[in-house]
Amino acid sequence: MAEIANPSVSIQNLSLNYGAVSVLQTLNLDIAEGEFIVLLGPSGCGKSTLLNCIAGLLDISKGRIFIKGKNVTWEEPKDRGIGMVFQSYALYPQMTVEKNLSFGLRVAGLPKDEIAKRIARAAEILQIEPLLQRKPSALSGGQRQRVAIGRALVRDVDVFLFDEPLSNLDAKLRSELRVEIKLLHRRLQNTMIYVTHDQIEAMTLADRIAVMKGGVIQQLDAPQTIYNRPVNRFVAGFLGSPAMNFIEGQLEAGDAAAFTADGVSIPLDRYEFDKDRGSAGKPCVFGIRPEHVAFGDAAKAMPFTAESAVEIVEPMGSDTLVWTKLGGRNFSFRVEAEKTLRTGDPIRIGFDPARASLFDTPSGNRL
């Protein structure tokens, strides 16, 4: 991965411990100017903790944090040049929208006309002009979140921090605001760090995604790379819905490498091994995403084919998920919604092992 010359945010060897419990472990992360980074992971992985450390709301145990080349490790949140949007919006309930937006500026003692100018701009960008005199309790969830974004906007800062900003909204509003945040980023070109556990938000918004688990960044890369070439089994399983199929078996080395499991042998000559090819008999996990599995006539053209029978059919509307067995494991694939399949129907499936992922069983790392 290319080094970032002038990172907007740079985190160096950051650790955070609560007593003996280590929450973040020697984390390093460079974020380029104007980049949209998503911290993605299951709850408890440390992603929000990391964001709070960047904001200065939590004291770190070790390491340094730079924002715009300035060491802000010991700075107060207000002096770090950040704006933050919270999951629960965190609007001050007793103040009007306008007062909410201007609170930070008034605390900083900015002149009145400057405050007015900034609020007008933020209100225009977020289209909340009609709401300025209302109290937060009189706003809908989507409107509240816009005001919360506006509060970060008026601070006129370099870095925006979003802490699961859309989690409290219903599905429809969430997708609307997702688009708006993306447009906002395009318009402002600020650095944005966005924490979420929602992989769709991550995939759609991010320039790069940092997948986290147990206080460690597992993989930091562009969304497509993470999706197609997950570095370990955790990342592979965490991203993608429906989830990737996993078959446990072992490696048959030699010139014609293959993966075998429970009567299935998958040729791996088209598979791009990462670095070590592994030795014969090595236990490993073969993973393939449901949408990369072909079915029926299309399967015949694939380098690997197998015969099986339909076990369960789950219509999803846009397409249908079919469950069968492969290598003794439950195995799912997608077919068009029009296909009518019934339990017990014999079927032929196939896929290209080049699109698959192979993981070492003990370490879970990609082979």
Binding site: R64, N71, V72, T73, W74, E75
Partner: protein, 297 residues
């Protein structure tokens, strides 16, 4: 490198520390310091003024040889058992009755609780008047023709502490009822539905399901009642001033009288240390159960 200085540990959160000075002073100087001071001086023979003239456990030997102290302790035990049992039982029954989705619930609750707003002095004086043998309940019933009727707890040494307990229950059961009611309201509505579907009679549901579920409420209530019992003072002063004779003396009054009237500080300190000890016997196991078992979040 960084320009910003890492502030020294002492000055981080400085405002919060400055703001906490009253709390820290109270905790250390008054609560810890004051208690330690009293315990220390209870081993001295201080009379009018506190003096560090140690006499070992003399004050305690004398204390436990003083009839007035023994009566105080006996009274406290009787008063304590009555308060605990009756306020728990009455408080729970009233709460259970109020919990039957009755009409005028607020009115009833207001009536049961209003005595709690009154001071012990007011409570004591009212009940002194009600229990006045000439004009009070006894007098009224005698005037009705039952001339041998006797109900004069405040003037009868052997039952005076029960007379005081009546007033205490009148004042305090409302609070217990409120706590119990809050506990009952905290119980999942579905438990009642399940018991009804299973055909369990109401009293059995209370006895075997609801009360065990309310264990934490009972424990908290118990601690509140218990710590109130030890402090009982104003009520006795108002109702009987410890009389007739010394029949209704209580430890708190013993302490006060020895410190400020008898000019025998050492006795007062020893007696108050005994009070502290008895409270600790209740509080320490409770605090251990409440805070010791689980980690603070």
């Amino acid at each position: 490198m960084s320009k910003s200085e890492r502030p020294s540990r002492l000055f981080r959160n400085l405002n919060a520390k400055v703001a906490s000075i009253p709390m820290i002073l109270t905790a250390l100087v008054v609560f810890v310091g004051g208690t330690a001071w009293t315990v220390l001086y209870s081993f001295t023979n201080s009379k009018l003024l506190p003096r560090l003239n140690f006499v070992g456990l003399d004050q305690y030997y004398r204390l436990w040889a003083t009839p007035r102290w023994l009566i105080s302790i006996e009274n406290l035990l009787i008063y304590g058992v009555i308060s605990l049992v009756f306020s728990l039982v009455i408080g729970f029954i009233l709460a259970a009755l109020l919990d039957q989705k009755i009409r005028f619930e607020d009115t009833f609750r207001t009536i049961f609780l209003y005595p709690f707003a009154l001071s012990f002095i007011v409570t004591g004086l009212v009940w002194q008047w009600l229990l006045n043998p000439d004009f009070g309940i006894q007098g009224v019933i005698r005037k009705l023709g039952w001339t041998s009727f006797a109900f004069d707890p405040l003037y009868n040494s052997s039952i005076v502490i029960y007379g005081i307990s009546i007033a205490a229950l009148w004042q305090g059961t409302g609070l217990i009822m409120c706590l119990m009611l809050a506990g009952l309201r905290g119980i999942d509505e579905d438990i009642w539905k399940a018991a009804r579907v299973d055909g369990i009679p109401m009293w059995k549901t209370y006895l075997f399901i609801i009360i065990p579920m309310m264990r934490p409420v009972f424990i908290t209530t118990l601690v509140i009642i218990a710590s109130g019992i030890v402090k009982v003072y104003d009520l006795v002063v108002a109702q009987t001033s410890g009389g007739p004779g010394i029949a209704s003396e209580v430890p708190a009054k013993y302490v006060y009288d020895y410190m400020f009237f008898a000019q025998n500080l050492g006795q007062g300190f020893a007696a108050s240390t005994m009070m502290l000890l008895s409270v600790m016997i209740v509080i320490v196991p409770w605090a251990y159960l409440e805070f010791g078992g689980r980690k603070r979040v």
